[in-house]
Structures are given as C-alpha cells and as structure tokens.
Symmetry: C3
Subunit: 157 residues, 3 copies
Amino acid sequence: MDTLTPASVCRYATIHVTTRQPTEFVDLTDRLERLVADAGFRFGILNVQTLHTTTAVVVNEHEPLLLADFQALLEAAAPGDGRYRHDDTTVRTVNMTDAERPNGHAHCRALLMPSSACLNVTQGRLRLGQWQRVFFVELDGPRERDLSILIVGEAGR
Amino acid sequence: MDTLTPASVCRYATIHVTTRQPTEFVDLTDRLERLVADAGFRFGILNVQTLHTTTAVVVNEHEPLLLADFQALLEAAAPGDGRYRHDDTTVRTVNMTDAERPNGHAHCRALLMPSSACLNVTQGRLRLGQWQRVFFVELDGPRERDLSILIVGEAGR
Amino acid sequence: MDTLTPASVCRYATIHVTTRQPTEFVDLTDRLERLVADAGFRFGILNVQTLHTTTAVVVNEHEPLLLADFQALLEAAAPGDGRYRHDDTTVRTVNMTDAERPNGHAHCRALLMPSSACLNVTQGRLRLGQWQRVFFVELDGPRERDLSILIVGEAGR
C-alpha cells in the first residue's frame, strides 16, 4: 500500500448516448479512459451513474454473441410481452406523461442490474482487468440518454 | 470538465428506517438530499449502504404499481415458499440466534440487488435524473433497519 | 453529521485470490478490515473491484448453507448446461484465446451481481452490519484472481 501526497480534487462530466435499439449495450470504456487522462488524475474513484430508470451500468466482456446471451437472460427474467401493473393505464395514476409507453419489463430488468459502476483509478488510468469493459445498458430504447461521471481523488502526474 | 479548488472533507450519517411490511420499498431520496444540503457539499460522491443482509439499495422510479411489479419479480426469482437450506434448522449450525426466522428467500433476493448506491453530488445537489428515486428495499420485514451514509468531496458554496 | 479536518488521501492495494471450485464465495472481510487499519483511515469510502468478467463482489451473510442456496439460485438463473452463443466456437470470432472454455453461464450470472462493492469507513473501521461479510464470487473457477482496492478519505487517528 502506497501513501500519496494529498492534493484531492473532484471533477465531473456528463456523457450523452443516443441508443438505436430497444435493448443495447453501449461500450463507454474509451470515453471514460479519456476523461481520466484529461482530468490528470493519478488515483481515485470514478463513479459512472445513469440518470434514467430503464437503464443500467455494468462491467463485463465485450463479445457480440455474449451481449446476445445477456439479452436472452434479461428477456427470460422479465419478458417483454409479460403483464406489468406499471403498464396498465386503466388503473395507473402516478407519473403519467404524454410520452408514456409500456416499459414495465425495462424497469424490472433495471432492478436486477446496478445503476452505477464505481471504478478505481490507479497510476493515472482506469483500473480494469484484461476483459473488462464498462457498458451503459439501454433497456427501453431507442432514446436519448445521459450519464453523470464524478471522479474523486489525487490529481498530478 | 471543471477543476475545483481542493477543500476535501468526509461527512457521515446514519439513517434509521422502521419497515412495516415483509417486502417494502422505502423512498430515501428526500432524506439524502437534505443530508447533502446540510453538509454543504458542492461536489463529491455519496455512498448509501445498508447494514443488513436481507435488504438492498436500488435506484428506480417511484410509481406504486411498479413497486408491486418489482415484488412479483422478486417472488418469481426466489419464492417465499421455496425450500432454502439456510432455513433448515435440522442441519444448520452457523449464526443461529433466538430471533431466527425463515428468510432464505430474502437473502437470495438480496443477492440480486446492490447493497449500496453510489451517487454523484454536483453543484450542491444529489445528481438524479427526472424519475430517479433512491430506495431502501426491505426483504424480510417488518424490522428496524439502519443505513450508513458517507459523502467524500468538496465543501463550500 | 460530523465535519472533519481535511487531510484527504487515497490508498490502493491489490488482493490475490486462488479459487478451487467452479462456484465459490471467498470471504474477503478480514483482509479488507486489515487494509483499512493498516492505512490509518478514519473516514472514507473503500471500493473493492473485481478485475474479471466471470466473477462478482457481494455483501451478504456468511452461513455455509446459505452459500449453497445462492449457488442453486445462480444455477436456476443461468444454468451451467444451458446453451450460450458465447460458447459456440463454430460462429464466434471475437476475443478467442487458447485458454477458452465454455463460460457463457458464468458471464450471465456475473451480469446479475455487482462487479464491485463500495463500503463506508467510519471511525477507523469498515462500517458493516452484524451479519454483513464481503464476498468475492468466483463463477468460473478454479482460477487465479485479482481484486483492486482503493480507499479515498481522511487519514489520521
């Protein structure tokens, strides 16, 4: 364990994502690594947080067939054609908007995954294993989406 | 990305919750926002962590029918009347207490959700999207529960 | 809520784990508590992050029969003998290695659990509830595994 000269700062950013599919895994890793490099952090914690309730942030491998497996898993856990009280406009009264569309399945899938990923920054880089990539998970697309990124730690090179 | 004058502090608090149902989604958002405002943070990370093993902390929409959908999803994933080795007092020897009650289903449900939420604080406020609310999830109530909150970041307005 | 004299530091460490079973819950709590004590932190956030994509980090109770229940739950969610596109070497072209073995089920199980745990440090100790233990979850063992630990907060006793 290494002790570091204290020179703590916070930096923050927003990432915008345009999704094109109902379910989509958007790889954010390169954008996050650039943020860490640009901010000049040596050590710290980066928290990448979705700002939506039918989305998630996960860390896993970027292999296209595996992403299809994930989609099948989520479909089994909360089927897109299942019945959700949230989508029953004959009884629902709360949080109704003109843009409402049936998305109970998407909220349920989001419940099973984290809404943010907390990642370590060491020696000026995002600390990720060989196969680890950070994904924004769209569960009710296509939509315009935003994520908030905040880094707390030690600046300086 | 904005660089900020370093003036880092940590602040912490405990939140107490009394739950009244076996499964219950308790909205903590207002209490967390008040903590951030009272602590005078401008930027940072707030970690809200449950101190129990049959509970969770999730971020999702606060719509009552949706919360009922979540309950149905959890019931399907780990049925309340399922058989759990953890509840088999004829063979179990570890961590037994007088207050023991069958709650294997609650531990299993907790495995599928995070035990804490890491949330960004920007410009003096909890950074949440339009529909995002932070929930303490009771899975084995009714009980008395505690959560630990810690904020690391930049104070000052 | 207590305000603390600012004296922020980051410290980091790596934990190595050798797993011996296909699925295994490795209790990291004692090692993490020692890291916090050795680093001399009073308050802060500790992030323990796996560096692999067929693993997870969870907080739950350490009761052996319960860990067997968890294994049954994960087997039901993503069966070991299920069919995964990720394992179909007749069509897959991305991220192939000589050491490739069928592990689609392990990636899918990992999707349902967090890849890191963010834990509060208060008064010089990891803030955990009575039954809370921090587990590294092996889903594709046996293997050699590494976790990255980073603590941000206030040093001094």
